[in-house]
Symmetry: none
DNA sequence: AAAAAAGGTTAAAGAAAGTGTAAAGGATTG
DNA sequence: CAATCCTTTACACTTTCTTTAACCTTTTTT
């Protein structure tokens, strides 16, 4: 089962797609505007995105480019525009498929499955964040194009943080998700691992990527300048 | 540059596609009938196939099914039929994309690039990886031109690893795919097989090809790596 | 500004995971 | 139905990772 994000302002169409995706056994999250879609994209992690072009707040084109700048998640554009120039432009700037409205639900379902099938084996499934680039399939992390080798737990931790930038992970959440075990409070183990990850990242950059959130846990530090302490 | 096979009986369209593909920098081979296309597919190795549906000799549907039975090569169907049932059926039976005639050449170009971009697929009779050369059809493995004889499970394991270099296979994935049976955790069997494969490979080379990923599983070791701990 | 609380770092002991050999147990085949 | 080959189990050994513990630093509270 995959988690799919629908970005579509029209309530009816959003509902229709949502139902369709549930029916073929996937989990759905709906966004009704560009910024909302981008926020969800950044905070959560999805296997595929269905993107409408005409959106309030921010156009689908802009969203596509923004998502492509640090992820190669499959994106299917759904649009009422049948303008061929637009279509080609979108496909060239990174959309994986382009479906014109009105669409047939079975065709949409089939095209979703094709994308999901492709991305399972494509060894290019990665997410970048600043100088970091992480591949879940290869379980590798690159810092400025140099590979750093992380152990199992180290990788799990960094993967969680990078795939959900902005999100603050409590120590308990981090522990339970990276270890898949109960967290029994007051444990320095996690700190040691965080320390080790930081040390490895520092071999290739001076930027600090893991931010400590006092009294709570950790998160990936925002890239934009002007961070507070 | 990729090698692309066009299977299309209409001379004019075949020529048009052929020119288009050359223009975007790929190599083209043209077939004008189903059987001819299949023969070329078997004899040569391509990165992608453009398949017309209405063909003399053998229908595009049949060809699709036949190719899919033993290959994951990206196949783009190009058809005059805009019948939605047909379209869905084809997409579900393994086509990667479906373009209806008349088509825009730029769109075709863009869709070809998308397929090539996501696929790591190779249709060669042999897959080579460094000094290893593996033939799925003959179920043989050569190391520096000397054949090593692997048992069924040994071959299945090495085949998986080599066909998806870089990808880390968890023990569970490896077991379930090589045995086609449920993995019930904590099993040393896989390790013994890995060990045996390594031993056989070592008869003819000093390079270590199978890398252990601690706590996870195994993968084929990168050929030119600069990783550090 | 001192005390208290939370986090950071290091090194080393201990736990967990992986390796390779050998032999037992199954399956297959002539 | 016996011989053979493959798979699995067992075990002693090696490697790597995780955790503990001690001590240090930073931040917050009083």
């Amino acid at each position: 089962m995959s988690k799919i994000l629908i970005i579509e302002d029209n309530n009816e169409i959003n509902g229709l797609l949502s139902e369709l995706i549930s029916n073929i056994g996937h989990q759905v999250v709906s966004a009704y505007s560009g910024p909302e879609g981008l926020r969800l994209f950044r905070e959560d992690s999805f296997s595929l995105i269905l993107l409408d072009l005409m959106l309030p707040g921010k156009s689908g084109e802009e969203i596509l480019v923004e998502m492509r700048s640090n992820s190669n998640i499959p994106i299917i554009v759904i649009s009422a525009k049948s303008d061929i120039d637009e279509k080609v432009k979108l496909l060239e700037s990174g959309a994986n498929d382009y479906i014109t409205k009105p669409f047939d639900t079975r065709e949409v379902a089939a095209r979703i499955e094709i994308q999901l099938r492709n991305s399972t084996y494509s060894n290019s499934a990665f997410v970048s964040y600043g100088e970091l680039k992480i591949s879940s399939i290869n379980r590798t992390v690159m810092v400025n194009d140099s590979e750093i080798v992380l152990t199992r737990h180290e990788f799990n931790i960094l993967e969680l943080l990078i795939k959900h930038p902005q999100k603050v992970y409590s120590k308990q959440e981090l522990y339970e998700q990276a270890w898949d075990e109960m967290y029994l409070g007051e444990d320095k183990t996690l700190n040691v691992h965080i320390s080790n990850i930081r040390k490895k990242i520092k071999e290739y950059t001076d930027t600090e990527y893991i931010e400590t959130v006092w009294g709570i846990g950790f998160r990936i530090k925002g890239l934009a300048v002007g961070g507070r302490r």
